[in-house]
Symmetry: D2
Amino acid sequence: MTHETVSILPTVDAHIYPRGALDVLSRDEVARLRDASSGGMHELLRRCALAVLTSGSASDDPRAARELYPDFDIQVLQQDRGVRIELVKAPATAFVDGEIIRGVAELLFAVVRDLAYTAIELREGGPRNLVSSEGITDAVFGLLRNARILHPIDPNLVVCWGGHSINRDEYLYTKQVGYELGLRGLDICTGCGPGAMKGPMKGATIAHAKQRHRRMRYIGITEPGIIAAESPNPIVNHLVIMPDIEKRLEAFVRMGHGIIVFPGGVGTAEEILYLLGILLQEENANLPFPLILTGPAASAPYFEQIDKFLRLTLGEVATSRYEIIVADPAKVAKKMASGIRKVRENRIVEKDSFFFNWSLEIPLAFQQPFVPTHEAMAALDLHHGRKPAELAADLRRAFSGIVAGNVKEDGMRRIEEFGPFKIHGDTDMMQSLDALLRAFVEQRRMKISGAYRPCYEVVA
Amino acid sequence: MTHETVSILPTVDAHIYPRGALDVLSRDEVARLRDASSGGMHELLRRCALAVLTSGSASDDPRAARELYPDFDIQVLQQDRGVRIELVKAPATAFVDGEIIRGVAELLFAVVRDLAYTAIELREGGPRNLVSSEGITDAVFGLLRNARILHPIDPNLVVCWGGHSINRDEYLYTKQVGYELGLRGLDICTGCGPGAMKGPMKGATIAHAKQRHRRMRYIGITEPGIIAAESPNPIVNHLVIMPDIEKRLEAFVRMGHGIIVFPGGVGTAEEILYLLGILLQEENANLPFPLILTGPAASAPYFEQIDKFLRLTLGEVATSRYEIIVADPAKVAKKMASGIRKVRENRIVEKDSFFFNWSLEIPLAFQQPFVPTHEAMAALDLHHGRKPAELAADLRRAFSGIVAGNVKEDGMRRIEEFGPFKIHGDTDMMQSLDALLRAFVEQRRMKISGAYRPCYEVVA
Amino acid sequence: MTHETVSILPTVDAHIYPRGALDVLSRDEVARLRDASSGGMHELLRRCALAVLTSGSASDDPRAARELYPDFDIQVLQQDRGVRIELVKAPATAFVDGEIIRGVAELLFAVVRDLAYTAIELREGGPRNLVSSEGITDAVFGLLRNARILHPIDPNLVVCWGGHSINRDEYLYTKQVGYELGLRGLDICTGCGPGAMKGPMKGATIAHAKQRHRRMRYIGITEPGIIAAESPNPIVNHLVIMPDIEKRLEAFVRMGHGIIVFPGGVGTAEEILYLLGILLQEENANLPFPLILTGPAASAPYFEQIDKFLRLTLGEVATSRYEIIVADPAKVAKKMASGIRKVRENRIVEKDSFFFNWSLEIPLAFQQPFVPTHEAMAALDLHHGRKPAELAADLRRAFSGIVAGNVKEDGMRRIEEFGPFKIHGDTDMMQSLDALLRAFVEQRRMKISGAYRPCYEVVA
Amino acid sequence: MTHETVSILPTVDAHIYPRGALDVLSRDEVARLRDASSGGMHELLRRCALAVLTSGSASDDPRAARELYPDFDIQVLQQDRGVRIELVKAPATAFVDGEIIRGVAELLFAVVRDLAYTAIELREGGPRNLVSSEGITDAVFGLLRNARILHPIDPNLVVCWGGHSINRDEYLYTKQVGYELGLRGLDICTGCGPGAMKGPMKGATIAHAKQRHRRMRYIGITEPGIIAAESPNPIVNHLVIMPDIEKRLEAFVRMGHGIIVFPGGVGTAEEILYLLGILLQEENANLPFPLILTGPAASAPYFEQIDKFLRLTLGEVATSRYEIIVADPAKVAKKMASGIRKVRENRIVEKDSFFFNWSLEIPLAFQQPFVPTHEAMAALDLHHGRKPAELAADLRRAFSGIVAGNVKEDGMRRIEEFGPFKIHGDTDMMQSLDALLRAFVEQRRMKISGAYRPCYEVVA
């Protein structure tokens, strides 16, 4: 797209004065915020801000946004009463008659707030210990509290996972589930993009309106790598930007009082393994955590395949931690509501807080990013007979590596250079994994250019 | 539909305790309410209540509802703290896990409240004078105040008119206009059914959420004959049931600070003539009243034809009171917003209230129902040279009569019995009217079974 | 006081725009309000408005106010958005830097609102039946609802009666009782003047603040004859002006969930007889109604004498309806709180409303004013053996007449002209009455100039 | 008072669950809070908690409280949803029918919150730099923000200083000034004890109620040494406990938008010198800071003497920073309101925040405690010709030392051991100081046992 074309897209220059978490800052904090936003954080801030400013626009392609608004810039300045945000050549669609849309402004403040917190509080050599499991959990807590979304209210937060490119039937189904959840006063938390991340919020909006539910929360938890690719949908009224994928996942499982998984691609499957890997920890054995896999009638085979794979690899024990419900939104919502009532009782008995699941044991292995090198992949141990929780952890890593080898730039380069990963595992497990991935390809849940060629070899 | 089929549709019996206008009643009022609801008003109450209880359900056909829930009943009983509403065999879809959806309950209270007000305050021989123009206006005011929708806030209420059976393009357009209105903080008032009555509210909902607009009003004004046929859409959060069509129209023009007309059928055309007939009164000459006719590109010919007809019949003067905008939702909203600002200034200068347009002169002829007998139709005087306002009044009557003769039971019977209406009018006017109606038929805006046969003859 | 002195008292001219019940009026209502306020109601409005504008000022003498602000005037005008109140030469103490104190403005709107309601709705020949017992009760209800002080909330309203000129010890005691009531979340309703009408509110204010009780109500119920003599104290945040003494008393007993009587003069004693007369009706026998007579240690003899008189005249049965507590504010509040809990239960069982005691039977005799002529006094029947309720009614009338004969202009004139009243009654009853009145004189609770000379004679 | 007597004073054991700043804590924070409260902080916590629990009780003597409730104890425990506070043998006066008074509970949470913040965030070797001027200011800001009393609202906070043992006339005057401030929508901040710290709040309460001012703030700023001696008065709705006198003074001058000084003792005089010392800094020359010294007519001589002393020592320039108003509460409030409007304008121009006066330059010397040893006192330089700001700093120190030598345990011991302080200063200054102190003694503003004997000698 040439600059000439761009020049006709209307833009706006504007000053904005933040509210919320940014309106009572110390002189020192304002200075550090200004420094961080003009220094190393600037490009990241610019990218995230643009994603937010194009929220709800027709195209969800973030690169398009960057190409359409090449001269967009954002500055954080010190001002009376705190900070001032200066926008240059910002998308006019975020404004109405010259004034920024209030909800967009709030998302923009959230971007600045969270990037600043990460840059200042979670910086290397900063006051926080980010090496230990406790330290990482504390950082996740700190970020969420700073975002002002932790409240000592009755548990009612349902996390919804699923693909961002699902078919229309599946999308309508996520809306129906969201509607039934909303009718029961439940709030929604998702990854904040399109597809299964938008549908439940949209459905809940209608139900919340009908139930006159006032303080409804549509929480979007994202991270810098994703927000640029998946603009927050316009329903999100609380946005949090976690510093990386692992902290984002931890935020989901510590804040959510239950999780619903809709059909999705490889990412969704990996998420299921992440959560089951944690729930199958012995320490978490008695912790109630409603987990429901659901979709419309046509997606029944999808969940059957997932279910078969989980039974084969993790054993029957794994099935005790989830329930598959097909084509019954009301049942999903009823089960979730009753599951959350049990969570509530358990928190009271265990003296845990309502707003953060401290009792959930998350091993450090799930908190640290897994880098899928050939060595790391070769070190995986995918054999029957291991503890389900440990096997789940390695399966998740295998999965993550295969995904990377297939579609991620880094991973694909490694495969080209060093050949397929060698994975040590039992044959049946490997075949099942393979079958699962091929099914994703067939169902168009994975974007593969050309024929699908596995990037791994099984070593018996 | 047989009783057997019906019996499988789930129903619920429930007691409900009203809030709002019904929670502080005198012992006498409760008794009168109970009497009215068990006496002559009962069947009407039952029908309206059922319409509200099936709000937002798949089918919009009210008879279907009555056939699907044949044993539904409603009783108003005296109870501690006021009244209790008892529902028998009510549609289960209005309930979640045994509890009525709060918004549905509110609409139900509105039904009881307004029918009671009409039965008690506006009864024949009651304390109000319903014969004079002032008396009728006062009754309209009383009903709206009793419904608690008159507030001394800044003018921001846009009335949207248009057909209930419009095509998908037109429906999406009404949503876009509603969205742009909502972005500018404007509230929506419609006839509360589907189509052009639902789209603007739906669009505004998204915009209000994005603007964090809190006290948004989605006002539906209906009347007993319509509510049974057109269930209030589920977005309506303030429902008012006026006793008849004329009072409903007066409620629209006295409460609304501006009116937008989307494509519609004969009813919509008649509404335009009603409003222009009033606005062309000399007494209203200096009263600002933004009136915009708008639709997507494909509906341009529709508005051209309307425009041509209005110019021919009422003269160029009529065009000064409306503006046609095609395929530009943002422009519609901007014009409406600036028009409403002028209304605000005028109210201040004229010392009129913000919430009720007292200054608008509505002649008694527009307040009394027109019954299209052959005598009444023959008495119309559709000639050039009359005052535009008076001609508009007669044109509206002619229109109303022709519509009745074409599609309403009473009217059709009269035509069969006495032959076509004889209308005295200038030839060009009559031809233009004829052309307009034929176009409606072609565009499927009129439901005609068989070939279209005019029900009138022109007497030169 | 000469005009010269007056001229130095600062005054303010101001326009005020009402809120609350006066902000959504019909054109007709505004016109009627304007007419009423400029016609017969004007002098009354002027007097009441001045009382409110001098609320909380040093002197409580209303005539002083009228003499100090002889040129004060008030007009109600029609304006954009409803009515405008124009004040001329109003006391500057009601203003701060040119702006009226908001609470004073609210009391002023209450005056206009209630006088207008009385003039329009309760006018002779108006829509209401003010002859029957039900009609009078309905008028009381209508006035209170129009004042927006009837809410379907949990019963918590304590009415406090007692003298306006009590000694310092007694005043401090009323504050302590108010404090203990406030600590228990109870709201206060009084006659809104000084003394025992102010103390409980003042004490409750501190307690409500400590308990962070937000929607506290300090309701003052007055009537035109009293408000001019007893300015509402500045704590009152809801003021209602009932049209006469009888409707004021009915408002107290229908709204209050319990009543506390502090030491007072003859008026207070008459109020006790009014309430006991009603509570001793057979129809009210099972109606819970907490009634506590209380004061500091020094006022024990006062209540002993009252108690003795009640036992002698009404019999032991009367004592079942009240409790005397001396010098124990916490006990008073506890008993009242538990008594109100019983009222709550009874209302639920009896299906009566929480905000208006419909079940209480008030005979017409207590609703109609008693005019103490010699004939009326001679017709009283004060003998043992009558039903306590009926005897109480006649005793109250006797009391009222004796008071009038002693201190009221009309009554004193009648005594001068026709000699003492002849009262037919048993000797012991008459002596007891006499003793009671002499005690009031000694305790300076009655303002008598010269020696006390009974205005009645007993006819055995 | 013997133990036997004590045992009859009613006490209550209770569990309390905090709200506000303590309801969303991390697991780590809860543990540190529990540790701190059971370790070194425990005795301090116990003392402060007791002070708060006896708030508003008859006696203001904190030792009395400790003697009356010798077995009182407080524990902070970890619980579901955060922390639980356990009270043992707590004064029953803080409870109503077994439940703690809500306002008292809030003050109790404030005690825990601030002591925890100080123990955790401001501990030696902690994350904060408490050595530099900037670091100390940042600590003050951190504490106030953590107490949630910094809000970006329009400047309206008036700090009131003055003695805790003032005479009745003076007390009534402070109430009148508070009333006039409250009428103008101004909020009050004081040291939170009795006397001049209670009167303005009490007066403002009445005015705020009359003006329907909702979010009124009665902020008490104290420190551990004082709270134990001066229970917060019951009106305080925001309590902050600063770690020492210097940070408390800095909190006053950074949060307050203006300061009113009522008559007081030596402490008050020292505060005036503290503030003038800061305001006379060249850097603060152009900073608006309304400072009004006021009292009833009888206290005119008091202020004259202060004024004379300030003129003599600091020169005429000092008088430009304060105004003395005698016996005119309305004028005080008007001047303060207009002064605060100038502060508002200045903050906007200077881009300073509304809620914290960052621009005010406070030299480190004023932030560090002054310890009055003989060396330190001998090093003071009280001669004409120095810069007023520097001289004010030394005068304040001299004052502080003399006060200590007269009445504080440490200081008196030093004087006994080493003889009188030697102060180097000009004779006239010394004589004036001496006269001032003697006047305080005569006016009973200083508690001196026996004859007054100066604890210093002047060295010319």
